[in-house]
Symmetry: D2
């Protein structure tokens, strides 16, 4: 089957009927809800760009499984070039969407699971790898969107899954039979769960024997029975709810919570069930891949941040000021480090027995650490360059009001050759780039928290060999 | 007359009828509007605390003019102790209000104007100083709220006031007669203009002879004829508009734009008019005072940021984790530097001919620079400690819905001894502390932009004497 | 007796005969050794400035004990003003000495011990407080220099004093009789031990009952029998050893290790002996006081760093470049934060039962944290402004050589009006400011390490009350 | 001819007789001078490792010119893989040498010149490209070390070459005849000029028509007639001068100043002479290549810094402390960003008409900016982890002295299983890593200063296209 167009994607959503709640109400045509439709539009844009001559270069790949063109979003990473291509695709897209397009969690999950499914089969004679390949063929053939469910609600953070007072604080198997399994629990921050056709559910942490029932991995349709999506609020909602004033006029991000009220999953869609020693590696793979993905998409957003700041300087009448140039250079320094380390993590990737390539974890975690901390300063510098108007521009309705409109157009004018309207549009974009909570928090906590990144970095960096280098230079000989 | 109670303050607002537009509509009882009433509540809280035994120590001072107790918010700074008391009062209040209470711009403007009014009278035989004292006696006697109008809209930033294509881009005198003056222009970011009784209008920059008509300073009632307030949008508005979900449940900040459509001001309220050489010093005084004020209020907010992060760690079940303690210490380091430099700027203040004390500009600008840059990192660390739930907690309505409420209460539970409801409340507070645009942008651009702070710091720091210290040590003798 | 002159100080050293080793050799007239004499000169400069009309204001105080003028370096802090005066004195001196003058450890130790001596007497009926007062009277009367011995060598850092395999890794009492005690151990980083007349030895950490013998505090002459000083190497030694090329041409710092080979101390000079619960508070007092001292002296050095950088820009022909001004402002920001927080720690000091005032620990530790981390960046920026010549200026001897001298004078010339010689002098100063290891490491580890500062900050900051502020604002009511 | 061994390199130096001055004296066997021999040893180590089975993989390449194995240090970069290989070689070497090995300036100069020589020939019909290829064949065949002379002394930095009062402040052609040219001037910071066989001299900046005579590029032997090398002092010289105590016991760095007292260069070694428009591109190529080189060598040093810090923690008895791990992770973050961006700059390199590949300037400058600023913090953290002993360890001679030796061995002992001697060795290494001025200043000013890096970054980053991305997202349509 051919790659979908944006229209075909919209069409395909009509057959999906997820159980969804938004601001306290059960919503039927959820994909058209004012708080969701901008998110759907972001995904649709990826389909549109996949059919565009330039975008095609980034978005379309040859499938090893089918031997035909498929979306790169559902492909195994079978070479360093696949990983390089991923970073570049994500940068290309986020430059044009200005934020999350909610398709890379699925792509990263497919690969993370693949490596361990293969290894588990080798060890236990299971056939997870074949099942996964079949699933991937299915989504390739139908050009589907897959989200990935990783983060459990976790309850008391100091306790392991099996130690929690309420056993459901981590997703687990509550029943099994010949046909499949039944799972219960909840996953939060489910980026794009309401724009996707399918979800891939991955354990959120390493598991020990006592946590065996929590070591479960599977795929399910986004509208599976007894699966509930609850919208989580972000900032800036008054704007889409009232139909105007949104900075990035077309696209947005959201991340519902999903609750599994005893959901049934047939065996053919189960890729891990009880083999607890593979849970940790699986989620670590995911973490490393997804930090690598962020290196692409967030450096693309970085280009938008830099561009928005530079344009604001122009619009304010300050196009070539020394301190602004200095800040732009500092902004670039961070965003290019994020990008560069992801590119390098691709080049220094290594093959696994499954044939899937794993990114260099030192470099992918380094990239993410810059996103987690320094990207906030990039955003702060954008605000600093843009000026105080980021805080409190009057609303579109004030511009439309005949009494206030002309006054605002007069008094909010900046540089001579720029219309007040365009200047306000730019401030609205900057406001969205700086204050959309789901984007900003994702910079910090997406793909794990900075402490996790540091821990992974440290564990992967082979400190012992570095000690030896130092001791050799100091002339220290140890037995 | 006695100091007002919160009730008396509310009562006093009933006589005020400012012309105000919010989201495109002209609003009558503006003080009760859902987007304004939380701001009014913040001001009312200052009256309440002024009548509280502990708060009284901070908020009530002896007037040199009246010889009786008045609000410290409308007092001249006639000693280093007055400046110390100001910083401590602002810290005390912001610890309890969690943000802006919109009364210190007026206090700082009174003092900034006072110094120059006195000097101008000495030079030109004007009687601005007497007029200002009369105005201050009036607001002391009636215990009024005064906002301060400093920031003009500025048009093309590369041009001076008299060079702008549209002469109204900076507020200026368009007519004069025996009774007073008529002014036209617009001021933006007018913190608290709709909670105040009066406004004090100050030039926004130094002026040269050609800019003479722009060198104007005066007081006017918040509901003066032909004065229009237009509300500037912030983030998070969907919450108060829908009546729920606000993080800081009681208080908020706003900063309308005000437009002077040829407003008349009688001479007795005019404190500068054409003596352009005093415009620069006046606004520089204001800047230094107001950066000093931020040292108090933002370090108080800093305590809330630290407290919120530490409480979130407890609620997540991670009360004593090493990396969290490290972050709390880093957060304190910044907020205490902000506070400490303001305290020091008070101690190292110097008297002016008017008897008003001026803060040390090096230290007050240093304090503000930490707020402008490093406070953003404090907020980022708060988010990092609190975790991803800051991004996307479901709404109150979802908790009220009988189908989703029990599920949310079950799955969003953290540490054993904490109710899910309290945990969610805390995340809502953190969301507000991190994402309320008017607060965050004020950290950066309030009281001038960081580049202004650096320039002032550099000019005030006597680099020449420091060069001499270095040369002496290097054994360099110069003719 | 009158305050000493610099000459009298030099005279007084002639009676001191400490056992000292430098680079492997036992040295007799140690105060004249090329590696020590610049340090002695720094101390002598403090005496000189104490007799100078301007310096007197900073350095001379009225003694509460003697009722006459004494050096502020040996005075109890009996008011916030004493603490303010200390900070200002230290800043004044370091601006003129460009580094350590090795007298504030003694001053801080006197006060740290005083508070606990008094409290211990109250609890146990000892007479430490009287003994200490007698000692202070003696050093006041004779205007002596006192160094302070705090840091033990510590052995394995993961073990307490009484747990070490070698019991001597922390200084301890090995014998006692009617006349006094005998102590054994070693203290490192003993700033100024060879320029001082006396030493005050303080426990380096809190002690438990098992560590009782290590809870010992006393005074002893710098040339006490069986006390050995071993010089610790710094960088840049080739210069003074060869008699030329030193950047700061007059002054230097050093910090020997001192070894107690069973040293006898008479009871009248013992201020703690076994009352282990006072060891912790004593060293914590010292830490807080000494971090407060650094706030003065390092901000004075900061002025030299800023001045040297600004002068180098002039000398390079770049007097008013935007990016250099930006860096100078950043440098000032840090040094003023260091200063401002120490000033504030003085104002917010609190009296102890002894009458001695304790600094605010939150603010004094905040000051030190900026020194510990951000001052390194100030130094880096100085190098960045000065340029590459900081790395590798040819030696004085090359300037004296008739073949190379004229070439160097020709080719190392910068701005027109500056002699090459002065330019080189300035680079030498900058090199010393940037690379003298004992100064730079003291920025980080002096008065405890940054981790200690953070821990103290956190413990002193009352996090619980801040949590309450946050919960109040969030509307959280807890039982 | 075969690749040289270390012995052959030493042998080859015997035929070189450069005119050299060190600390004021003319030196004959300069390669054996105590201040130079450790530098020679660093270069010799590169020859040794080129003959080692593992090292060979990094150091030996196939020459396109000769079709045989040559040193990668004298090869053209004819593919992205060559650039990748360069970064990895430099990292490999600096991990084993702990600092500069003084061979990459020549390698980068060869390529920088090549690109412009080719283009110049195209434009003017000159034959610079052929001459350069001949020179490269010669150094490949003889496996020589080439240093590169870029940085002029520059005089008054605010003036262009032709505007200087003394015309010699930039190297220039003072005479020309049929055989060649005569040049006068001086270059500073000439890394490795006394360990090299040849030098490649490159203009230090862009030139305009008036600066034509300064647009000159050529090769000359290190011992050319009338070429004078003057040693520039570093820190820590007392150690090698006295024969002991050096931290990194084998290797060092130096950077003399070289003075051209009217040096003759034959035409066959001249690669630019008057074609001023190629001077700027040539030095910009050099800058971008050399920043890329730093990405390799400084990340290798970074591994040593991390290893030294981690080993010091072990030796102090603190092997697994949380705050130390956190610092190690931060140290890695910076050093990996430096490395990663250089790797990425290789991958994103582009071919020039000459066939030589140019690195991506955005990424190579980003890498260098992290070295210029953040590497200083890595070093500070190493000191913080290692502790105060970095400041002032007694000398080797004190350990040898029979009176002090046993005391030092006793009291400077750390963790049980580590000899005091090894612990001291490690502190000496750390001291050298932190305080060797020529290394530290090179981090900042090597390959240009940070402001140059920022300027290059900004110019290369295509801000206009980023503005367009932002405007598209904001819905702004401009004519």
């Amino acid at each position: 089957m051919a790659l979908k167009t944006a229209e075909q994607y919209y069409e395909s959503l009509k057959d999906l009927h997820p159980t969804a709640y938004i601001l306290g109400e059960k919503v039927e045509n959820v994909h058209e809800h004012p708080l969701i439709k901008h998110m759907v539009a972001a995904v649709a844009k990826t389909y549109e760009l996949g059919n565009d001559p330039e975008g095609k270069k980034y978005l379309v790949a040859e499938s090893d499984l089918l031997g035909e063109e498929v979306s790169r979003f559902v492909k195994f990473y079978t070479s360093p070039d696949d990983l390089l291509a991923k970073v570049r695709m994500l940068k290309f897209l986020s430059q044009r969407i200005g934020g999350c397009f909610m398709r890379c969690t699925g792509m990263d999950a497919i690969n993370s699971i693949g490596i361990e499914a293969y290894d588990c089969d080798q060890k236990y004679g299971t056939n997870y790898w074949e099942r996964l390949q079949n699933f991937v063929k299915y989504v390739q053939t139908n050009d589907l969107v897959v989200f990935s469910g990783v983060t459990d609600v976790k309850g008391d953070r100091s306790l392991r899954p099996s130690e929690q007072k309420d056993p459901d604080m981590y997703l687990h198997v509550v029943d099994k039979n010949n046909d499949g399994i039944v799972v219960r629990g909840a996953k939060i921050h489910q980026t794009g769960s309401l724009c996707a056709h399918w979800g891939l559910i991955v354990p959120t942490r390493e598991m020990r024997e006592a946590d065996k029932d929590y070591a479960v991995c599977f795929a399910l349709p986004a509208d599976a029975e007894s699966l509930i999506h609850i919208y989580g609020r972000g900032t800036l909602e008054a704007r889409p709810l009232q139909g105007y004033d949104l900075g990035n006029v077309e696209f947005g991000k959201f991340a519902p919570m999903i609750i599994f009220k005893d959901v049934f999953v047939p065996w053919e869609r189960v890729f891990l069930c009880g083999e607890y020693e593979f849970a940790g590696p699986m989620v670590r793979n995911f973490g490393n891949y997804h930090r690598h993905s962020h290196g692409g998409c967030k450096s693309g957003v970085g280009d938008v941040l830099v561009g928005a700041a530079a344009a604001a300087a122009d619009y304010n009448g300050l196009p070539r000021v020394s301190h602004i140039n200095n800040k732009l250079a500092e902004m670039l320094k961070t965003t290019e480090a994020i990008y560069g380390c992801s590119i390098a993590a691709s080049i220094e990737s290594t093959p696994t027995p499954s044939g899937i390539y794993n990114v260099d974890p030192v470099l992918s975690n380094t990239s993410k650490l810059y996103e987690g901390k320094e990207l906030a300063e990039v955003i702060r510098m954008m605000i600093e360059i843009a000026g105080g108007m980021v805080a409190d521009v009057p609303s579109d309705k004030d511009f439309e009001n005949p009494e206030t409109g002309p006054l605002l157009r007069k008094y909010l004018k900046g540089a001579e050759n720029v219309s007040t309207e365009n200047r306000v549009r730019l401030f609205r974009l900057i406001e969205k780039l700086a204050f959309e909570s789901r984007d900003i928090v994702s910079n910090i906590h997406g793909a794990g928290s900075p402490e996790t990144h540091k821990m992974t970095l440290l564990r992967s960096a082979d400190i012992e060999s570095k000690k030896k280098l130092a001791k050799n230079l100091a002339g220290i000989k140890e037995e």
